[in-house]
């Protein structure tokens, strides 16, 4: 499933988001990067219609996103937040099961089949043994995996992820991004994630979107779009680009 954005505009107090035209392709992992306050998360939420889109359009396979009903939209687009926002301490399996809401009516309760879908999602992220554990007993990395499992239980073609690696150590960063990369390749999902780490974006992303002050400054495959001039414009500090062992590294 592809996403196209057309003349998107979003205003909040003295912040404005303006995106003229950009597209995200099936089975590709796109990283949205830029400094804090650039509008990355706002852009991501607009893509998922989690914020109202006041002007312009987001098209999902050429159909305007605002025309989707809540449940229809949730069967196509899943959103993985940085943290889950509940005070209630659900068991991990019950938590992942929430992803099935996209496929169930308001008064319905999940069936055995829904539970199977949730268990499959838990297996995929490697949390099978944690099914009965309360969610508060998981580490940040495991909780991130539970959030991803919930979005997988939703069975969507599009995954939007907000900073999937914040608060994680280097090993867990790599594990999560390996998983996300696998999802784009094996499961054929269209994945857009905001990332703070340029190094990880360079290693994993098929395409990068550079944002600053609510605008997209550049977008494309890392190899073609990256330049020292662009990095200095986006981050406001000089950054050198070097190649070590055939891989791009950035020096601050």
């Amino acid at each position: 499933m592809s996403i196209r954005v057309r003349r998107l505009a979003f205003d909040y107090k003295d912040f404005g988001l303006r995106v003229a035209a950009i597209g995200f392709e099936t089975s590709r992992l796109t990283a949205v990067v830029g400094p804090n306050g650039a509008g990355k998360t706002t852009f991501l939420k607009c893509l998922g219609s989690l914020l109202p889109i006041p002007a312009g359009a987001v098209l999902i396979d050429d159909r305007d996103l605002v025309r989707f009903k809540s449940r229809e939209r949730a069967r196509r687009i899943a959103f993985v937040p940085q943290e889950h926002g509940s005070i209630f301490n659900y068991a991990v399996l019950d938590f992942v099961l929430l992803g099935r809401a996209a496929h169930l009516g308001v008064l319905a309760t999940p069936s055995a089949e829904d539970e199977r879908a949730a268990r499959t999602a838990l297996d995929y992220v490697g949390l099978r043994a944690f099914a009965a554990r309360p969610i508060s007993q998981l580490s940040s990395g495991e909780r991130r995996l539970a959030l991803i499992a919930r979005s997988l239980a939703q069975e969507t073609d599009i995954l939007l992820m907000d900073e999937p690696t914040t608060f994680l150590d280097m090993r867990h960063e790599v594990e999560i991004l390996d998983l996300i990369h696998k999802l784009s390749r094996e499961a054929g999902k269209t994945i857009v994630c905001t990332l703070h780490s340029l190094d990880l974006a360079l290693k994993y992303a098929d395409a990068m979107v550079f944002m600053k002050d609510g605008a997209v400054l550049a977008a494309g495959p890392p190899g073609t779009v990256l330049s020292e001039a662009l990095l200095e414009t986006v981050y406001g500090i000089p950054i050198r680009i070097r190649t070590v062992d055939g891989r791009i590294v950035l020096l601050r």
Partner: protein, 335 residues
Amino acid sequence: MTKRTGFWTLLAVLLPFLILVLSLAIGSYRIPPKELVHTVAGLISPSRHPDLAPAFKDILLHIRLPRLLLALMIGASLSLSGASLQALFKNPLVNEYILGISSGAGFGAALSLVLAGRGFPPQVAAFGFALLAVAAVLAIAGRSESSVVPILLTGVVVAAFFQALLALVVYFASPYALQTLFFWLMGNLALATWRDVVLAGPVMLAGSACLFLLRWRLNVLSMSETEARSLGVHVRREKILVILAATLASAAATSVAGIIGWVGLIGPHLVRMAVGADNRKVIPLAASCGACFLLLADDAARMIMSFEIPVGIFTSILGIPVFVYLLAKTKKVWL
């Protein structure tokens, strides 16, 4: 369903009714156990027991049974509404007070007792003003889609406003009206009649049934609004649906029994401590637990002194120590 959960489900359904039957024996007029069994048997199959004592029959059928049925339904409704609103507002301290239901009902009852005398029943006025209070909260705060905080804040403000109006009415009330009013405000089942059961019962059942059907959805709604939206929930519409159902159930309960505190907090929290946060279990068990709790509190209210004490006082006196004990004893986080 496994054999074990089957047993617990059956127990949760039967326990309130078992307590109800045992509670038939309790009251200021002592009925000997033998007579009690005889009368109950006679009420069930009149043809085989033609020689019933009319006094016992009247007391059981027209005084105790409607009262106990109301206690059961009110306890279940308040506990169920509390559990649902706590999930919806993602706040463990929320109950029917927070939407202005208790204050609105209190003002309505006071107004009817003081101004209209016996012409306009306080139950109807209480129910009407409870709904009005919730409508005011939703009208003021309902526009903002973003967060639950505006609703909670508006609820506090509307409740305070009705409290002030209540104080105004109390100030001008005659001593007789005042006595009746205080009786009502403290939470009381002593005046329960079959008419209350027939009028308020179906409303409580309708609200509770709706919340029961929404039990899994409440898990989804207990996530942040962004998450709920991304999971396919039409947040504002479903939020109002839960509020309406909880309002119907708890406003009907309050309108017939007055302000009975703590049931909406104790029931749900006891259940969460025992079985965890999943509302598929919490909602039905909270109903059962709230019903048992209010039946037992009402038994205590009738038994402890030679005269009756308002049950609202007992729900607090019994409930708070139980709650504090469990808070201290339960080391694990149950929310």
